[in-house]
Amino acid sequence: MSFALRDKVMLLVAVLLAAIYLFPLYWMYVTAIKTGSAMFASPPSFWPSDPQWGIYGFVWESRNVGRYLWNSLVIASGAVSLIVVLGTGCAYVLARYRNVWVDIGLFLILMLQVLPASLMITPIFVGFSQLGLLDYPRVAVVLAIAAKSMPFFVVLVRATFMSVPMELEEAALVDGNSRFGAFFHIVLPLARNGILVSAILIFMQAFGEFVYSKSMIQAIEYQPASVGLNSFMGPNTNEWNNIMAYAAMYVTPILAIFVLLQRRIVSGLTSGALK
């Protein structure tokens, strides 16, 4: 009996803590449906009395949110495809062998993972402009994001490949498969879930990427949603309900994916980050 009571109290406290932590998110959604005067009311109302659903449609039209989101989607998909194609094989080899060269390779990859984008953008920008890559700004951003995020993907997927028993692959080789065949028919299908979760994580990061896009994409019709949000927020803006509506449209798809795949994402993250 006392145990059940303890559980209930703990659960109540936990819900309260989660509510406090997620309050900024709630505040975004509430502000996004407030009128101009309700937004600046004092004291602020924590429950919208007169929800203005029309703000969403208005912001979608006036700020061209569709185009921005499309660019984010194109950039993120391009980066993720490149990372998955290149990174999966790399992670497989790094998981399969254990020697000095693999240790050195892993060390270099971990070192690359930590380089801050805002520090790397200066040489990347100058180098890309000399190569003429900045004429294709979205391609340039995809390449830069791929280089930035691939190490993280390799570390996560390597942990997945480690959990695939090597005996299965050896049995396939004994049965007459080539290395090529064993990799594609035995190992890859077994690691599919881990690769998928890692790819989704990378996608969500690339979807919100800002530094590279802001620096390399000058033409407004190629800018992703993060840059659009940045230019929406002027220094003395007072359209916070519109900005929050924009932010809500930007972040809701990501939140939906997160809620659907929460368990897998959490376990995928924790397995890679500390091992």
Binding site: R6, D7, L11, A14, V15, L17, A18, Y21, P24, W27, M28, P43, L86, G89, C90, Y92, V93, L94, F107, L112, L115, P116, S118, L119, M120, I121, T122, P123, V126, G127, S129, Q130, L143, A144, A147, K148, P151, S178, R179, G208, E209, V211, K214, S226, L229, N230, W240, I243, M244, V251, I254, L255, Q262, I265, V266, L269, T270, A273, L274, K275
Partner: protein, 300 residues
């Protein structure tokens, strides 16, 4: 030729092919820029020489100029304050939450996972939300602080030089709590429950158990998480761009934002590269600590 093809599909060539293409890509896209960055920090770069590789070398001039600027030391100090305050806040709150959820009750793992939502949100969105929450006249944080009685007047978080850096620190702590908590939870769950039962039988109380079992057992995890926090905090750029843009008058500027600002706002690419080189050295030191402590984890 046939032999080579056979090797690629069914031998060592397969592994080498799989690993060499990504490594070549990473070298071209991350290794070369790193080297180029160092080269540029010793060159004179202006808008006219941007397109050519043949730029005059000027030795340590960029570094000397950098350290003679009046804003350099305040910005480096800001960076240190930002890093230390963010990590202290994230780690303390994250550890407290991890310990709370570790006690275990129905729904605890699901609710804990909910906290990770901040990790997947775009940095610009997090910055925009906090920009609005921290707004001076109409911000909800000022309202709550006034109601609780902590402050009597509004704090102008973004425009008061005494508070602007702390505005970003608050947002960054919120952002970082989740990964600290999740990774600390992983570390906690690896400690055997038997140890606690034995200690309890021997009469150790909660505080004693925490300091004699939990902390020592978590040592390498804590080292890894603090190093990781240092790496993530030094990567934080979006929040500065979305909340204060380094202002007012550099009071909330930090090195990683300043490097970008130099290159892309003031078009001084040589100075931008110089700041980057100095900061990358710091990041590298942090990552060596991180890699060493995760190594330890795998062996132990």
């Amino acid at each position: 030729m046939r032999k080579l093809l056979l090797s690629v599909s069914d031998g060592r060539g397969f592994d080498i092919g799989l690993v060499s293409v990504p490594l070549a890509f990473l070298f071209a896209m991350a290794g070369l820029p790193l080297i180029y960055n160092i080269v540029m920090s010793f060159q004179e770069v202006d808008m006219f020489s941007l397109g050519t590789f043949a730029r005059p070398f000027v030795g340590f001039k960029n570094y000397i100029t950098l350290f003679s600027l009046p804003e350099t030391w305040p910005i480096l100090r800001n960076t240190a304050v930002f890093v230390i305050a963010s990590i202290a806040g994230q780690f303390t709150i994250g550890f407290a939450l991890a310990l709370f959820f570790w006690t275990g009750f129905p729904g605890s793992s699901w609710l804990r996972g909910l906290f990770l939502v901040s990790w997947v949100m775009p940095g610009l969105v997090v910055g925009a939300i906090w920009n609005w929450i921290l707004s001076g006249d109409f911000g909800v944080l000022n309202y709550i602080l006034r109601e609780v009685g902590l402050v009597s007047g509004n704090i102008f978080w973004r425009s008061d030089p005494d508070f602007s850096l702390w505005a970003v620190v608050i947002a960054n702590i919120w952002l970082g709590i989740s990964f600290n908590m999740i990774l600390l939870s992983v570390g906690l769950s690896a400690i055997s429950r038997d140890l606690y039962e034995a200690a309890e039988l021997d009469g150790a109380n909660v505080v004693q158990r925490f300091f004699t079992i939990t902390l020592p057992m978590m040592r390498s995890t804590i080292g890894a998480i603090i190093a990781l926090g240092l790496i993530f905090t030094l990567q934080q750029f979006d929040l500065f761009a979305a909340i204060t843009a380094g202002g007012p008058n550099n009071s909330s500027n930090v090195a990683q934002y300043w490097a970008w600002d130099m290159s892309f706002r003031q078009y001084d690419f040589a100075q931008g590269a110089t700041i980057s080189v100095i900061m990358i050295v710091f990041v590298m030191i942090a990552s060596v600590v991180y890699v060493r402590s995760t190594r330890h984890e795998v062996r132990g």
